[in-house]
Amino acid sequence: MSTSRAKGSYLTQPAPKASQPPVQREVEVVSARPVGAYVELTLAAPEVAQRAQPGQFVAFAVGGPMTANLLRRSIAIAGTGEGTVTVVVAPHGPGSTWLAERRAGDTVDVVGPLGRPFPLPGSGTTALLVGGGYGAAALVGLAGLLRSHGSRVLAVTGAADAARLCSVEELGAVADRVEVTTDDGSAGRAGRVTVAVDELIGESGVAYACGPMPMLRAVADAATAAGVPSYVAVEESMACGIGVCMTCVLPVVGSDGQTRFSRSCTEGPVFGGDRVRFADVGSLPWDVVGADAMGVVRP
């Protein structure tokens, strides 16, 4: 994406804030269920459930009362039920492994819902939803909401292998069409989600993506190239999840056309796909607001 694009040439507007503030609660796990390589936890968290909108996430304290790991782990909300919130956890490091070991009856400390939800398109717009790995879970609620707003929903869910696919059934139950891809061909089509995205983007009026950064970038680029607005939910390393620490930033073009280091927890995690400067994540381009004060000069 060019950094000099004119202010008016963006296909998206920044996602608006959520309608309600988050709460902090000690909640009970009502069920824990392995799904492929992941664990799906359902929490009795009525206040979070009532406030949650698709695209938002929650942040868990991890490790129990004697923990040495102080930072919360952010996990996307995969769905809400009667007073419950569901999340899908991929055991990876110590924090997510601890979370994935929770069992019904255990309590966890959760803050949420956090972040900005996916903005909805005009009613009736066909929407393409693309999930990578456990990222697909975060799209289930969105798919339902879009359908109830009269959208046609096309879903693509991909992963490295069959065990890492997520929410195929749940998406199947609500979307008009579901494409499955795996890198190793162990389920669905062999290949990346992009094969399916390239086919479907033409019929879509908006695209949504959740998953690893390279996938988000590919989806955003495909959508932008096709003239379709896209919204991506990014996953940046977060220390607080609530907007106070400034660790989770990435370069995003604002509505004034200027690039800022924006907090993915409170100004995201949902950003316009054409507003995230993917190629510059992890670096400091000269044209980010305030880069000059860091000694970075225009090349």
Binding site: Q24, L70, V244, C245, G290, A293
Partner: protein, 312 residues
């Protein structure tokens, strides 16, 4: 949270300015307070210590900006912020409207920057006082950090004290990364500091086992959280021992009321809660409550009685 949830008188002061309670946020750990509104009553805090501001808006450093460490974290944000104009136009009025006292942290890379910031903040409504973040590289001295040199540190403080509103107390924020913190404390006090904030982060480094390079782009970062608490309490103890009349705002790893109590007993008359807020967004209010209860249990009728008690 109610401020007076126990019989203990929790009022205190920053220099000459009275505070409703002894628990403050820590600079850089609660932004400008707004994001904490869903979790705590900001007006019940001693004050919001704002993220260190410089003259110009700053982007801060590229990511990754942090690494989790045992009972702590390493950060290298690079003082991302709106600059003094942005602060005066946006955040400070927001706090003032709500009656939330602000203790404004200022930072710079030359003495004049600090002085100019202090000038700009004269008489600004809601600004209780200034915390001077001298843990910044001094561009005029091969990038050595002001706080690591008693002379450079006192130059900054003298300039700020001269420029600042006389009604606004000036606190010097000290770094623990020095051979002799008492000599720095003494130097800045003699230069006019009305109080001392202790401690800033410790210089640390984490190497990523996957990339086999430092996690942070800036190589080193600042270590904070409960891991550093014994170092922070030691600094407060040493300085209060040497300069018992100088007020101290204590910080470094405070997570609970009993942690805060350690700082108070060591000599702090107020405390800042930093990293713990990332773990528990309502930590400041909880620490206040727990500290009040702990003081009551120990038979104190006021916070002031407990300040420095461990030295007696």
């Amino acid at each position: 949270m109610t401020v007076l949830d126990t019989a203990v008188d929790m009022t205190t002061a920053l220099g000459s300015v009275p505070l409703v309670g002894p628990v403050l946020t820590a600079s850089g750990c609660s932004a400008f307070g707004q994001e904490l509104e869903p979790f705590v009553d900001l007006t019940a805090l001693g004050a919001v210590v704002t993220k260190s501001v410089q003259l110009r808006p700053r982007s801060g450093r590229p990511t990754p900006r942090m690494a989790e460490t045992p009972s702590g974290m390493l950060n290298s944000i690079g003082l991302q912020g709106p600059g003094i104009d942005g602060l005066l136009a946006g955040e400070l009025p927001w706090l003032a409207e709500r009656g939330v006292p602000a203790f404004v942290s200022i930072a710079g890379t030359r003495v004049e920057d600090f002085a100019e910031l202090a000038t700009r903040l004269r008489g600004v409504p809601g600004v209780l006082g200034l915390e001077v973040n001298i843990s910044c590289p001094n561009v005029e001295s091969r990038g050595e950090v002001f706080a690591c040199d008693p002379l450079a540190a006192s130059d900054v403080i003298a300039a700020v004290r001269a420029a600042a509103d006389p009604a606004q107390p000036v606190y010097a924020k000290l770094s623990p990364d020095v051979t002799d913190i008492v000599s720095v404390a003494r130097a800045v006090t003699e230069a006019g500091a009305d109080g001392l904030s202790m401690i800033n982060t410790l210089l640390g480094l984490v190497i990523d086992p996957d990339t086999m390079k430092p996690v942070l782009g800036g190589v080193t970062g600042g270590l904070s959280g409960p891991a550093v608490r014994p170092v922070a309490v030691r600094c407060v103890w040493q300085v209060h021992q040497a300069l018992p009349e100088v007020p101290i705002l204590g910080m470094g790893g405070i997570r609970s009321g009993l942690d805060a109590l350690q700082f108070v007993l060591a000599g702090a008359s107020a405390v800042s809660v930093g990293t713990a807020v990332f773990h528990d967004p309502s930590a400041t209010a909880r620490v206040h409550r727990e500290l009040a209860a702990a003081l009551a249990e120990r038979g104190f009728s006021s916070l002031r009685e407990a300040v420095g008690y461990a030295h007696r």
